[in-house]
C-alpha cells in the first residue's frame, strides 16, 4: 500500500547540521557506538537524564499500558527536547527497530505520535538492519563495512563489560576497575578510528592482562545472573540500577553479552526461513554475519579459557543446542528462546541465582520468562530464579525486597 509520509525524515543535509539523540541503555557499548557513528560523519549523543520528568513525560505521551522501555525512551526524548539543552530545530532522534512480532517494532510510531503536536520538525531515525523505513531521501545509511565495525564495537564493549563486572565486585582498592575501564574505552575508540580494530586477539590479550592485574579479593561472592527483556536487563534507568544494587549487597552481577542477542537475532532470521520453507535474498547476508561473529565469539571463549582468570561468555552454539529441551527455536518475538537459553546456561555454568527482569505486562515474557522458569528449574533443581517486573509505578523497595529474598535463599542453600 502506498503510504504518504506525514512526518519529517532525517535528510542527507541534516547530517551536517543535526545532533542525533540516542536513549540510554548500555553505557560502554553506546559510548563506542557514538564514536563509530562519528567516524562516518554523524554527530550523536546518548541521553543520560534519569529525573522523574523522564517518567512523567513518558506517561503523558504514550499509552500507559505500553511497555515500560517505550515509555522511558520516549520520556527521555521528550524531556530532552523540552529541557532547553538542545536546539530543537537541529536534533534528530534515534530508536532501534527489530521488525519482530512484539510491540517494540511500534516504538518509533509511538514516538512520532508523541512528537506530532509539540515538535513536528524533529525527525526520527530507525536503527534497523532489515530494510524498514526505506526512503530515497533518507540521510541515515549504514553500509556493510559500517555494520562490521559496529559488530566489532559490540564485541569490544562486551569484553570490557564482562571484565569490568568480574573485577569491580572484588576490587580491593575502590575505583581501580573503573580506572582500567576508562583507559581502555579511550584506547578502543582509537582502534575503531583506524582499521586496527580487527586485531581483536591482540587487544583482548592486553585487556585480559590489564584487568587481571587489578588487586582483587579471593573470597567468593554470590553470583547473580541478569537476564530478561533487553532494555530493562541492561539499562540502569529501566532496572533501577540493578547491577549497582547487587554489588552493594555483596554480589557479583553476571550480565550476558550483547553479542548473544545479535547472534540470536541473526540466527532466527535464517532459522525462520528454514522452518517455514521460505526464501529470501537477504539470507546469505545474515548467514555471513552470523558465521563471522559466531567464529569470533568462539575464539574469544577459547582465548579467555586459556587465559584462565576470567569467566568467558556462553558459547552461542551451546546455547542453541541446550535450549531445545525447554522451548522451540521458532519462538523469536522479543528475546524469544534466548531468555530460557541464558537462564539454563547460567545455571549450568554455576550462576544459579538468576533475576529475570521484565517490563510489567511484557507479552513475549509471559511465555519465554515466567512461562519457562519451571522447565529450567526441572533441569537445574538448584536454580534460584525470580522474575522482577519494572514499570513506572513499581517501587524500588518492593523490587529490592524480592531480590533480598532470593539472596537469602542463595545464602541458605549455599548457591554462590
Amino acid at each position: 500500500m502506498e503510504k504518504e509520509r506525514d512526518y519529517p525524515i532525517f535528510t542527507k543535509a541534516m547530517k551536517e547540521t543535526h545532533t542525533i539523540l540516542i536513549p540510554t541503555m548500555l553505557e560502554i557499548h553506546f559510548e563506542l557506538m557514538v564514536h563509530i557513528f562519528s567516524i562516518y560523519g554523524y554527530k550523536c549523543e546518548v541521553l543520560h537524564s534519569e529525573s522523574r520528568a523522564v517518567i512523567n513525560e513518558g506517561l503523558k505521551n504514550v499509552h500507559n499500558d505500553t511497555c515500560y522501555p517505550a515509555l522511558l525512551c520516549i520520556g527521555q526524548f521528550m524531556e530532552a527536547l523540552k529541557s532547553g539543552r538542545y536546539d530543537v530545530n537541529k536534533v534528530a532522534l534515534m530508536l532501534p527497530q527489530t521488525g519482530g512480532g512484539c510491540r517494540a517494532s511500534n516504538y518509533i510510531y509511538l514516538l512520532r505520535k508523541a512528537l506530532k503536536d509539540t515538535f513536528p520538525q524533529v525527525p526520527v531515525i530507525s536503527l534497523n538492519f532489515v530494510g524498514m523505513e526505506k526512503d530515497p531521501e533518507n540521510g541515515w545509511k549504514i553500509s556493510t563495512s559500517e555494520i562490521v565495525r559496529i559488530l566489532y564495537g559490540i564485541g569490544y564493549g562486551d569484553m570490557l563489560q564482562t571484565l569490568y563486572n568480574q573485577c569491580r565486585s572484588y576490587e580491593l582498592v575502590k575505583g581501580t576497575s573503573k580506572k582500567v575501564l576508562n583507559v581502555w574505552i579511550k584506547r578502543v575508540k582509537k582502534l575503531l578510528s583506524s582499521n586496527e580494530y580487527v586485531h581483536t586477539k591482540k587487544y583482548y590479550e592486553m585487556m585480559l592482562r590489564d584487568f587481571a592485574k587489578i588487586e582483587r579479593s579471593t573470597v567468593p561472592k554470590i553470583r547473580v545472573g541478569i537476564v530478561g527483556e533487553i532494555y530493562v536487563k541492561y539499562s540502569p534507568l529501566g532496572n533501577n540500577h540493578l547491577e549497582d544494587f547487587l554489588i552493594s549487597e555483596g554480589c557479583e552481577p553476571v550480565v550476558p553479552s550483547l553479542l548473544e542477542f545479535v547472534l540470536y537475532y541473526l540466527f532466527t532470521k535464517g532459522n525462520e526461513l528454514k522452518l517455514y520453507g521460505r526464501k529470501s535474498a537477504a539470507l546469505p547476508v545474515y548467514q555471513m554475519f552470523y558465521k563471522m561473529f559466531l567464529a569470533e565469539q568462539k575464539r574469544v571463549v577459547r582465548q579467555m579459557t586459556e587465559h584462565g582468570v576470567f569467566r568467558p561468555p556462553h558459547d552461542f552454539e551451546h546455547l542453541l543446542h541446550s535450549v531445545e529441551q525447554y522451548i522451540g527455536l521458532g519462538v523469536n518475538m522479543g528475546e524469544g528462546w534466548l531468555i530460557p537459553a541464558e537462564m539454563g546456561a547460567l545455571a549450568e555454568s554455576g550462576t544459579e541465582n538468576i533475576i529475570c527482569t521484565q517490563p510489567f505486562g511484557c507479552l513475549p515474557n509471559h511465555i519465554i520468562a515466567k512461562g519457562m522458569s519451571r522447565a529450567v528449574k526441572e533441569r537445574y533443581p538448584n536454580a534460584n530464579i525470580i522474575a522482577i517486573d519494572y514499570d513506572p509505578g513499581a517501587t524500588r523497595v518492593n523490587q529490592e525486597n524480592r531480590i533480598k529474598l532470593m539472596l537469602a535463599n542463595a545464602r541458605a542453600s549455599g548457591n554462590l
Partner: protein
C-alpha cells in the same frame, strides 16, 4: 550479665518485637499498629524493653517490609522476612511441611519438605491483609465484623481475587443486588484462599502439616476456616501457632542469635533508632498552597458555584426528586420548580442501597410541608434498576446523561465534564450540545475516591481530616500514577523515607488527578479538554484534589458546591423535564412506604446454557426485581422478534460444523477451543475430518473450567483468553483424545494492505508455555508444531510429519486444499450474514453495533455476554472480521503488523462510512497490543465524527460499567440524530 536475642519486625502496618533466650523461649513480645509512624512505634517498644530488661544485652536483627530502610539507617542488621519466618519454623515446628503467611500487604508461602522453596507475592497485593481491609471498608464494617459475618455464611459467590480492584467490581453488584452480607464476607475469604493457591503455590500442592502465620490468620477465624476448608486440611494438619503474630519477629531474633550479632544494651539500640536519618531519595512536588490567604481566595472562588436553598418544611408547590444510587454511596436531592435545593443527602450506602434510600424518602415525607407535592422522580447510577423497581420511581436515566444535565445547569456552554466518584472516573466531552466521547476507567479503579478513604482509615484518620491535612503539606510526595496496589507500595516507600502524613495526603490527591488525566482521559494538552470544564463527584469535594487538578491542567475549573450530588441533581432536572410531557408520579406513596419490605433469593436461570445465577427480589407490593441475568430471558421478558446477533450466529455455526465426523475414525484429535481456534476451527476440522480423524473440542468455557486449570498458570498477568486455555487443556485430557493438536504460529493469515501478518506473542507461542507448565502433557499426547498457515506448502509439509504414522500422506494435499476452502467459505458466510443482519436491522429501524475484538472474544466466558447486552438494548450486533472485507485500510500512524488488529482498522474505516453504525471495541485486560490499537481505532472513528467506545473485559463478570457505556452510547447516538 544477661544476654538475649531481640527481633524487631516492622511490617507494612504493624511493629512486632520479641525478646527470647538462646533456646528460643519468648520472654517478651509486643504487637502494635504503627499508623505509618514507624520510627516512633519502634522506639516506644524499645523503651519498654529497656525498662523491662535494664541490665541485659541483646543480639538484635530487624525484619519486615518496612524495616529495611530503618535497619540500614540505624545500623541494625536486617534479615529478609520470609527467611526469618523460615528460621522460626525450623526451631519451633520442625515437622511442618508448608507455611502460609499473610501480612498487611504481603503473602508468602514456604515449602519445607520436598525441596525448600520460599515464595512471595509479586507486585500485587491481592489476597493480603490490605485486601481484606479494603473489602471490609467496602462493606462498611470493621474487619472483626466481617470475620464474624463470614462464619454465618450459607453460600459463597465467585469473587476475583487477583486484585482488590477486581474483587470490588465483583462484590459491588452483589451488594447492590441485595446478596447477604454474611455470604459476601465468606466469599471474600474464599477469594483470599484462591489467590494464595493460584498466585503463590502455582501448581505446587499444599499438603501435609501446614502452619499459618501473620496477623490476619491469627485474628480472623473466618479466614482460618476458609483456608482449612479450601486446602482440605484435617484439624491436626492445620496449625495456628499461638505466637503467630510475632512469629517473624521471633525468627529475626533467632537470626540475630545465629549470626552472632554483637550484643548491645536496649538503650543503645533505642538511641540508634532515634538517631537514624532516613536517606531521603523521595521525590517531592510543590506545596499546594503557599499561604492560608491563597487557600481562602481559592475557597471563595469556588463558593460562587452554589445553588440557592429553600426550606423543605415551609416550601409549598411542586418538587422533583432525583436519586443517584452509586456504587458505594447514595445521593438524593429534592428541588423546586426553579432549581432551588430543598433537601439533599450524601452518605455511604453501607451495602444496602435500597434500605438507605427508603429511609431517606420516609424522612422527606415526614418533614415536608403538606403542600409540597413531589411531581416526578428519576433515578440513576449502578442501583438504578433495583431502586426503580422497588420504589416505583418514574424514570431511569443513564449516569452520563444525568451528569451532563447537572453540569449544564451550572455552565450552559460546558465542553468537558470530569466526575470522580468512589469507584469510577467518568469524563465526557461535549460537542454541539451532545455528549461526544465518554471515557470511563475500565476494570481498574486506580486513584478513585474510595482509595483515599481506605488509605485514610489505614493511617488512622477520618477521610475529611486526612484530605484537609494535605492542603498545607510542606513537601507533597510524588507517588506515580498507576494501580491502587502499586500506589500502596509507593506510599510505603515514602513512609520509609520519612514523608509525613501531610505529604502523603497531598501526594495521593495529586496521584488521583494524574491517573484521571493521563490514564483515563489520556490528554496531551489542556486545549484538548476544552475551555469550560466542570468537575464533580464526591472526590472533588476534597479541596486538595481540586487544587491538584487545576494545577495539573493550568486552568481554573467550575466545581459546583453540590459536586457530590450532581448525578442526583441531574436526575431531578430530568424528572422535571419529562414530567412536563407526562402526568402523575408513580413514586411509592408515604403509606406504601411505611409497609415497604422485601425478600431476596438466588435461583439459576434455565433460559439458556449460560445458567446465569439470578438474584430475585420480591417486594411487599408483589412486584419483583431480577438481576444477574445477561439477557432479557432471565428477567422474564419475551421479545416478539429476536434482535439479530452475529456473535450468536457464528458460535452456533462453529458448533454445527464440528458435528460432522468421519465414518470410520483413524484416531481422535483434541482441539482446545481457545485463542485462534475461534477462527481456524473450520480449517482444522475439515483437514482432520477429511483425512479420517475424529475431532473433539475441549468444550464451552465457563468459570469452573477456568478454575480447574488455574494451578498451572505461570504468569498471572497474562490476558484472560490465554489463562482460560489451561482449563481447556484439563478438559481435553479428560476426553481421551489420541493427542491434542495446537500449533505454534508466529505468522497468521495475511490480510490486504498490511506491513506484516504476525500473531501476538501470546497467541503465537502459548502452546510452548502450556507444554512447559502442565505435567500431564508429553510429546505423545501434545502436538504443537510450528507452521505458517499462510503457506500451503508449509502446512502440507508439517501435517505430513504430524500424521506420519497414520498412512494418510497422499491425501494430505487435497485435505489441506479443502481446509482452506472451508475456511474461506466460512469467512464469506460471515460477511454475507453480516450484510443480511445490516439490511434486516435497517428494515426494522435498528441501529447497528460492530462489536470488534479478536476471534476469541466469541467465547461466552470471555465476552461475558456483552453482545446479548447490546441486543437487549435493541441494537443489532455484527463482528469486526465480518465487515473488515467491506472496509478499506485507512491511513495509519502505527506499524500495521498484526493480522487480527489490521481487521480492526478496516472495520473501523467501514463504520465511518455507515451513518447508522457505531463500533464498540472489546479489549481484554493485559492485552499489550491493544495499547497500540485502541488509540488508532479511536482516531479513525473520531476523525469522521463517530463515537469511540471501549469495553475492557477480564475475568470479572460485572457488566455494570459496560451497561453504562452502552446506554450512554445509545443516548449519544439518539441525540446526534
Amino acid at each position: 550479665m544477661e544476654l538475649y536475642a531481640l527481633g524487631i519486625d516492622v511490617g507494612s502496618t504493624t511493629v512486632k518485637t520479641v525478646v527470647c533466650n538462646e533456646a528460643g523461649e519468648i520472654l517478651h513480645s509486643a504487637y502494635q499498629r504503627h499508623f505509618s509512624k514507624v520510627k516512633e512505634t519502634v522506639s516506644e517498644q524499645l523503651e519498654s524493653i529497656a525498662k523491662k530488661f535494664p541490665e541485659a544485652q541483646f543480639r538484635s536483627a530487624m525484619t519486615g517490609s518496612a524495616g529495611l530502610g530503618l535497619a540500614n539507617a540505624a545500623g541494625i542488621s536486617f534479615v529478609q522476612e520470609v527467611h526469618a519466618a523460615f528460621l522460626a519454623v525450623r526451631t519451633c515446628y520442625p515437622k511442618a511441611d508448608a507455611v502460609i503467611e499473610l501480612g498487611g500487604e504481603d503473602a508468602k508461602i514456604i515449602f519445607l519438605t520436598g525441596g525448600v522453596e520460599q515464595r512471595m507475592n509479586g507486585s500485587c497485593a491481592g489476597g493480603t491483609g490490605a485486601f481484606i481491609d479494603q473489602m471490609a471498608t467496602l462493606l462498611g464494617i470493621s474487619v472483626q465484623e466481617l470475620d464474624e459475618a463470614a462464619l454465618k455464611a450459607k453460600r459463597t459467590y465467585p469473587i476475583a481475587s487477583r486484585c482488590g480492584v477486581f474483587a470490588k467490581s465483583d462484590i459491588q453488584p452483589l451488594l447492590n443486588q441485595g446478596a447477604a452480607r454474611e455470604d459476601v464476607a465468606a466469599s471474600i475469604f474464599k477469594a483470599v484462599v484462591d489467590q494464595t493457591v493460584a498466585g503463590l503455590a502455582q501448581g505446587r500442592e499444599i499438603k501435609g502439616t501446614v502452619l499459618f502465620l501473620g496477623g490476619p490468620l491469627s485474628f480472623q477465624k473466618g479466614l482460618r476456616k476458609a483456608f482449612v476448608e479450601g486446602l482440605k486440611l484435617s484439624e491436626e494438619n492445620a496449625v495456628f501457632p499461638e505466637q503467630a503474630p510475632v512469629f517473624v519477629a521471633l525468627g529475626s531474633a533467632l537470626y540475630a542469635e545465629e549470626s552472632k550479632d554483637s550484643p548491645r544494651m536496649a538503650k543503645a539500640l533505642l538511641e540508634k533508632v532515634q538517631n537514624a536519618k532516613a536517606t531521603s531519595d523521595v521525590m517531592t512536588g510543590d506545596k499546594l498552597f503557599a499561604s492560608h490567604e491563597e487557600y481562602a481566595a481559592f475557597v471563595e472562588r469556588h463558593k460562587q458555584c452554589d445553588l440557592t436553598y429553600a426550606d423543605l418544611r415551609t416550601y409549598e408547590g411542586d418538587a422533583y426528586l432525583g436519586i443517584d444510587s452509586g456504587s458505594t454511596t447514595t445521593k438524593l436531592v429534592l428541588i423546586t420548580e426553579d432549581g432551588r435545593l430543598l433537601y439533599s443527602h450524601y452518605a455511604s450506602n453501607e451495602g444496602q442501597p435500597l434500605d438507605r434510600i427508603a429511609d431517606r424518602l420516609k424522612q422527606i415525607y415526614h418533614d415536608k410541608n403538606e403542600n409540597l407535592i413531589i411531581k416526578a422522580s428519576a433515578v440513576t447510577g449502578y442501583g438504578e434498576d433495583l431502586i426503580k423497581a422497588g420504589l416505583s420511581v418514574d424514570y431511569g436515566i443513564v449516569e452520563t446523561v444525568a451528569h451532563f444535565k447537572a453540569a449544564s445547569f451550572f455552565c450552559p456552554d460546558v465542553d468537558f465534564i470530569i466526575d470522580i466518584g468512589g469507584q469510577d472516573i467518568k469524563c465526557f466531552k461535549i460537542k454541539n450540545g451532545a455528549i461526544d466521547s465518554i471515557m470511563l476507567n475500565e476494570a481498574c479503579s486506580s486513584g478513585c475516591g474510595s482509595f483515599i478513604q481506605t488509605f485514610a482509615m489505614a493511617l488512622g484518620y477520618d477521610i475529611g481530616e486526612f484530605s484537609q491535612m494535605g492542603l498545607f503539606a510542606e513537601k507533597p510526595v510524588e507517588l506515580g500514577s498507576r494501580c491502587t496496589v502499586f500506589m500502596n507500595s509507593s506510599v510505603k516507600q515514602a513512609q520509609k523515607d520519612g514523608a509525613t502524613v501531610e505529604d502523603i495526603s497531598a501526594g495521593l490527591s495529586a496521584s488521583i488527578i494524574k491517573n484521571a488525566i493521563y490514564k483515563v482521559i489520556r490528554a496531551k494538552s489542556v486545549e484538548e479538554l476544552g475551555k469550560n470544564i466542570v468537575v464533580q463527584g464526591g472526590t472533588f469535594l476534597n479541596d486538595a484534589v481540586l487544587r491538584c487538578f487545576e494545577r495539573e491542567i493550568g486552568r481554573n475549573v467550575i466545581r459546583p458546591a453540590i459536586s457530590g450530588l450532581m448525578g442526583a441533581f441531574g436526575a431531578a432536572l430530568y424528572a422535571k423535564e419529562q414530567q412536563e410531557e407526562n402526568g402523575e408520579t408513580s413514586l411509592i406513596s408515604p403509606e406504601a412506604l411505611e409497609n415497604f419490605s422485601y425478600t431476596s433469593k438466588n435461583i439459576r436461570c434455565g433460559g439458556c446454557t449460560a445458567n446465569c445465577l439470578l438474584n430475585v427480589i420480591r417486594f411487599s407490593d408483589g412486584g419483583r426485581f431480577v438481576s444477574g441475568n445477561r439477557c432479557e430471558k432471565g428477567a422474564g421478558i419475551r421479545r416478539e422478534t429476536e434482535v439479530p446477533d452475529l456473535y450468536n450466529y457464528k458460535y452456533d455455526r462453529l458448533m454445527e460444523i464440528i458435528q460432522r465426523k468421519p465414518v470410520r475414525k483413524k484416531a481422535v484429535i483434541g482441539l482446545p477451543m481457545v485463542l485462534n481456534f475461534y477462527e481456524l476451527l473450520p480449517f482444522w476440522h475439515t483437514l482432520f475430518t477429511n483425512l479420517g480423524f475424529e475431532v473433539v473440542i475441549s468444550g464451552e468455557s465457563d468459570r469452573k473450567m477456568y478454575f480447574s486449570g488455574q494451578h498451572t498458570i505461570p504468569s498471572d498477568t497474562v490476558c484472560y483468553p490465554a489463562k482460560i486455555a489451561h482449563g481447556h487443556i484439563e478438559a481435553l485430557l479428560q476426553k481421551k483424545a489420541d493427542f491434542i493438536f495446537w500449533p505454534c504460529m508466529t505468522y497468521n493469515l495475511g490480510e490486504p494492505d498490511t506491513d506484516n501478518r504476525f500473531n501476538c506473542p501470546v497467541v503465537a507461542y502459548y502452546p510452548e508455555l502450556m507444554k512447559a507448565n502442565h505435567s500431564g502433557l508429553n510429546n505423545e499426547n501434545f502436538c504443537y508444531p510450528y507452521l505458517d498457515i499462510n503457506s500451503r506448502k508449509n502446512v502440507i509439509q508439517v501435517m505430513r510429519k504430524v500424521l506420519e504414522k497414520y498412512g494418510v500422506q497422499k491425501q494430505i494435499p487435497a485435505a489441506v486444499d479443502a481446509a482452506y476452502a472451508a475456511l474461506e467459505d466460512f469467512r464469506k458466510e460471515l460477511t454475507s450474514k453480516a450484510k443480511e443482519i445490516i439490511s434486516q436491522a435497517r428494515a426494522e429501524g435498528r441501529k447497528i453495533i460492530v462489536l470488534a475484538g479478536r476471534p476469541y472474544h466469541l467465547d461466552k466466558e470471555i465476552n461475558h455476554g456483552i453482545h446479548k447486552l447490546i441486543t437487549s438494548l435493541g441494537l443489532a450486533v455484527i463482528s469486526e472480521e465480518s465487515v473488515a472485507p467491506m472496509g478499506k485500510m485507512p491511513h495509519l500512524h502505527v506499524y500495521n503488523q498484526w493480522t487480527y488488529h489490521s481487521r480492526l482498522y478496516r472495520a473501523a474505516q467501514y463504520v465511518t462510512t455507515q451513518p447508522d453504525m457505531q463500533l464498540v471495541q472489546l479489549v481484554s485486560f493485559g492485552c499489550g497490543i491493544d495499547a497500540i490499537t485502541t488509540d488508532e481505532v479511536r482516531s479513525i472513528l473520531e476523525s469522521s465524527g463517530k463515537l469511540y467506545t471501549q469495553l475492557k473485559i477480564d475475568e470479572i463478570t460485572n457488566l455494570g460499567a459496560a451497561k453504562i457505556r452502552l446506554r450512554s452510547l445509545l443516548a449519544a447516538m439518539n441525540q446526534q440524530k
